[in-house]
């Protein structure tokens, strides 16, 4: 087919062209002010003054330590939980149950999960209420520093809770690609216990497939703003939170320092990735002996206990957090130490139902639009890789991932300027394109490895049977990849639903979505309304994930080998 090949080959270039303008604009919007250039605010000379101001910001060392440590520790813990769980329960009935429970939880927006967890664990939270006045003896909330502890433990807990479902879903999509089932069977046949078999035979094949999602988790965890504001310490906060405070400060001169801070944040994230990469190398070297040592049952029970216990704890915490949120959405005045709101009322839901229909429509249409665009471009890029038999250039990949690495609040300023410069009207198109910038990297990293690892021999067999390039793509490769594509689309949709600043700034606030409503209402501190909107925000992507998991099952009900 003469059209197919050149068409596909154009897509990587098209993608890079589509991205390079906003990415450079976004980056330029940070770079220029960081070195003193922002004529609109009177910055007309190149200077290092913003960096000097940043250096003297009180508590900078603590901010850096906090960002780096919480990012790395939370990723490590989340990854360990997912791997232990897979090791202990892969291919058991419990596994299927947990998978069903956890996947929709991925749809919980970060801010909503953080608010819910804060309410569960705070001194006046649900857990403390359930234990009061008996057996704790508290008639007033106690005064312990959690969440908001200076070491960031609450922040780490919140991040772990959100990253476990994400990493699990990424692993599930990758398991068939690394032939986990066969590897497990071989190792078990050689007498390895369940956990040992997974750790020694499956994990070395699985980890490379989920490396990119792990890197994305690190990037997110080191630079998160919404979770850190709610669960992190305040004196000082993590660097990303401080940058947002400076950017939002009425003293516009602080925007120069904030831009320098955003670049420093980029450096912190890069350092975290570098440290992690160094850790990977170290682990690989140190564990080579253990891998080949032949131990078949060492640590088997411990691994199972930890895997089961930690996963159980994650599910209980997430479930209880969301339960608390659901209760708040029904509460009237709910004082401490009442364990249940009484009386319960639907008033908050009714109030929201009156106003939420428009935002719901916008949320869905923007989410579908940006996801569709991203999925098409990503599949095109990956198919072009297959045709060329080499991956995208590192430069192109960097452009793809930059929107994830730069704190959005700094990045977006340049985007809005670009939008104004191009005369692109604020509205649906601008917002959808803006969302795609953040959706596309997630779709890419969700799909890339599964796509790249698809055995090329399927295509070769089809070609040997006379199928054209296009035919192989449409009738062999695409159907075989339906499950990971559906999951990647669901992830992309969830990312779009959760976007606040791009929607507000690029749409000039004219397109109200569930998230813009939720965030502006959350700033008013009414937990009831926040709960209603957070649950609404959760429902849409949860629907997406249900479809992503259910649709391939339905389509391939007669081709079970295509499913996990």
């Amino acid at each position: 087919m003469p059209v197919f090949r050149p068409g596909i080959r154009l897509i990587p270039r098209l993608t890079v062209l589509l991205l390079i303008l906003p990415v450079t604009a976004g980056l330029g919007g940070v770079l220029a002010p960081a070195f003193g250039w922002l004529p609109a605010l009177g910055g007309q000379a190149w200077t290092l003054a913003p960096w000097q101001a940043l250096w003297q910001a009180p508590g900078l060392a603590d901010m850096l330590r906090l960002s780096l440590l919480t990012g790395l520790v939370s990723t490590l813990v989340a990854l360990a939980i997912v791997m232990l769980f897979l090791g202990a329960f892969l291919e058991t009935p419990l596994f299927r149950l947990v998978r069903r429970l956890l996947s929709p939880l991925l749809a919980v927006p970060h801010a909503a999960a953080a608010i819910a967890l804060a309410f569960l664990l705070a001194p006046s939270g649900w857990a403390s209420r359930l234990a009061s006045p008996r057996p704790s003896g508290w008639t007033r909330p106690p005064d312990y520093l959690f969440p908001g502890d200076p070491d960031g433990l609450a922040l780490i807990a919140g991040l772990v809770l959100k990253e476990v479902p994400f990493l699990l879903l990424m692993s599930l999509a990758a398991l068939p690609q690394c032939r986990a089932h066969e590897r497990l069977m071989v190792a078990r046949a050689l007498g390895y216990g369940r956990v040992n078999a997974f750790a020694k035979a499956v994990l070395p094949g699985l980890y490379p497939l989920i490396r990119l999602p792990v890197y994305a988790v690190i990037a997110f965890a080191t630079s998160t703003v919404e979770v850190a504001i709610i669960l992190g310490p305040s004196t000082p906060p993590s660097l990303a939170v401080a940058v947002v405070r400076w950017l939002n400060d009425p003293d516009l001169a602080l925007r120069f320092q904030a831009s320098a801070g955003a670049l420093l944040q980029l450096g912190v994230t890069a350092l975290a990735l570098l440290l992690w990469w160094g850790g990977e190398c170290l682990v690989r070297r140190l564990l080579a002996g253990w891998l080949e040592g032949g131990g078949r049952h060492r640590g088997e029970t411990l691994g199972r206990l930890l895997g089961g216990g930690l996963t159980g704890l994650t599910i209980v915490l997430l479930g209880a957090s969301l339960g608390g949120l659901a209760l708040w959405s029904l509460a009237a005045y709910w004082p401490f130490p009442a364990a249940w709101p009484s009386p319960m009322t639907l008033a908050t839901w009714r109030e929201a139902a009156d106003t939420a229909l428009g935002p719901l429509g916008h949320t869905a249409s923007i989410g579908l639009g940006s996801t569709l665009l991203s999925v098409v471009l990503v599949i095109g890029c990956l198919e072009a890789e297959t045709l060329r038999r080499r991956p995208l250039r590192p430069g192109a990949q960097l452009i793809l991932y930059l929107p994830l690495l730069v704190p959005p609040v700094a990045f977006l300023y340049g985007l809005v300027q670009l939008q104004a410069q191009l005369g692109l009207a604020a509205g649906w198109t601008a917002v959808t394109l803006g969302h795609s910038l953040f959706v596309l990297p997630y779709v890419f990293l969700s799909l890339a490895e599964s796509y790249r690892r698809l055995d090329p021999r399927w295509g070769q067999i089809a070609a040997a049977l006379g199928a054209s390039r296009a035919g192989i793509f449409w009738r062999v490769r695409l159907p075989m990849l339906t499950a990971p594509i559906a999951v990647a689309a669901a992830v992309g949709f969830a990312v779009s639903v959760g976007q606040y600043l791009p929607t507000l700034l690029l749409g000039a606030g004219r397109l109200a979505t569930l998230t813009t409503e939720a965030v502006s209402l959350a700033s008013g501190g009414d937990r009831r309304l926040t709960a209603v909107y957070a649950l609404g925000q959760l429902a849409l992507p949860a629907l997406g994930f249900l479809l992503a998991i259910g649709l391939p099952r339905f389509l391939f009900r007669h081709r079970r080998q295509l499913l996990t």
Partner: protein
């Protein structure tokens, strides 16, 4: 073209962002006419994008009501752009100015005061002066009520139009705190007796900074110097009593002063959760409204400190590049109408005090402002008289910087 040259070519316009944009120069918006009737005529059919904090459901409902009225009376459509922080609107105006967008701005009216206004005015991001052109502005009797002409001691010079009033108001759970502290010294004693039951929002949140200013006014040896720019005095000496006070207070605050709520609304939420027993707000009617909305205990009561508390006025302003300036002016004028102001002050609607001077209104108009029934959580109207003027803004900056230096590290 390689990626690098492409990137360089694209970066170029960003480095010279004052170059006129391609599209923005294409259209010339007609200037706002002189005659008010013509302004109203031009406004007809316009859509005004009003950027206003959207964190409060009662305020949002009031803005929705205003939008309906304006459509009926003047054929102007009003869209409430809900913000979590006014800084987002400021960002957008700066970006538009950088891109050379001088008359196609996406924001027509913005709810603003204090530092945000000072910053936007200093950087020429506002349209005006327009306030005196609004027919209803005269009803505020600006000559007798200079507070509608000054925003945190800065003269507004007509670049914003007054909308409502705020005064620092304390509220407490009367069941737990029968007699709340009436001044800063009593507050310290009370905090020592009730550890962990009081705190203030994280500086530089404006409510947190307001608490510092309030304390400084009471504790400074000569509060009169606060009206001058801070640079004219020895800041360290003037503020020393404040830092001694905070050093003594912090160990008895919520979380021993090691963690602070991020904002006034979070303070309110902590009151609702029972973690705090005493808090404060800038909206005198907020405690009563929060009781009605089930957010605070029915035992909540409001009061102001014995020596009076800080107060100010909040405003609406028009960005320099607003596309629908006539519509925005018609909206700002309607916000000052007796009808809109009376409804705003109604405790069942919002409860935000009016900026109008009652002597300028007809008896029928005045009647609409009468309070219907007494809400026990509400501040008695006579208490609002004890209003302290804001210090010069430079003191706020000095206090914020010193606070961060002292308390914002581990």
């Amino acid at each position: 073209m390689t990626l690098r040259t492409l990137a360089a070519a694209l970066l170029l316009p960003l480095l010279w962002p004052t170059l006129p944009a391609i599209a923005a120069t294409g259209t010339d918006a007609p200037p706002v006419p002189e005659e008010w009737a013509e302004v109203e005529e031009q406004a007809r059919g316009q859509t005004v994008y009003w950027n206003a904090w959207g964190g409060d459901a009662t305020t949002n409902r009031y803005i929705g009501w205003v939008a309906e009225r304006l459509e009926e009376r003047h054929g102007v459509e009003v869209v409430h752009v809900k913000l979590d922080d006014t800084a987002a609107a400021v960002s957008r105006v700066i970006a538009e100015k950088s891109a050379g967008n001088v008359d196609e701005g996406a924001i027509d009216l913005v709810w603003i005061n204090g530092e945000n206004f000072a910053a936007m005015k200093r950087h020429d991001l506002l349209f005006g002066p327009f306030a005196r052109r609004l027919p209803n502005f005269a009803l505020t009797a600006p000559e007798e009520n200079p507070e509608v002409l000054t925003d945190f001691t800065l003269p507004t010079e007509g670049y914003e139009s007054p909308w409502g009033k705020a005064q620092l108001t304390f509220y407490h759970d009367a069941e737990r705190v029968p007699t709340p502290p009436g001044d800063m010294a009593a507050l310290l004693d009370w905090a020592k007796a009730n550890p962990g039951r009081f705190t203030y929002p994280l500086v530089p949140d404006f409510l947190g900074s307001t608490f510092l200013k309030q304390a400084l006014i009471e504790l400074a040896e000569d509060p009169a110097v606060l009206a001058d720019p801070a640079g004219e005095h020895d800041v360290a000496t003037v503020t020393a009593p404040l830092w001694d006070y905070l050093d003594a207070l912090h160990p008895h605050l919520w979380r021993q002063g090691r963690h602070f709520p991020t904002s006034g609304p979070e303070l309110k939420q902590l009151m609702g959760d029972g973690e705090l027993a005493l808090a404060f707000t800038f909206n005198p009617s907020e405690p009563a409204a929060a009781v009605a909305a089930h957010q605070l205990s029915p035992d909540t009561r409001s009061y102001v400190l014995d020596g009076g508390t800080l107060g100010n006025v909040h405003f609406v302003a028009i960005p320099f590049n607003a596309r629908h300036k006539a519509g925005a002016m018609v909206l700002a004028n309607y916000l000052l109408s007796p009808e809109a102001q009376a409804r705003k002050q109604d405790i069942d609607v919002w409860g935000d005090p009016t900026v109008l001077d009652m002597d300028r209104l007809s008896p029928e108009q005045r009647e609409a402002f009468a309070t219907a029934e007494d809400n026990p959580a509400r501040l008695p109207p006579e208490a609002l008289g004890k209003l302290l003027p804001e210090p010069h803004p430079s003191w706020m900056e000095a206090l914020e910087a010193a606070w961060l230096e002292r308390y914002a590290r581990n």
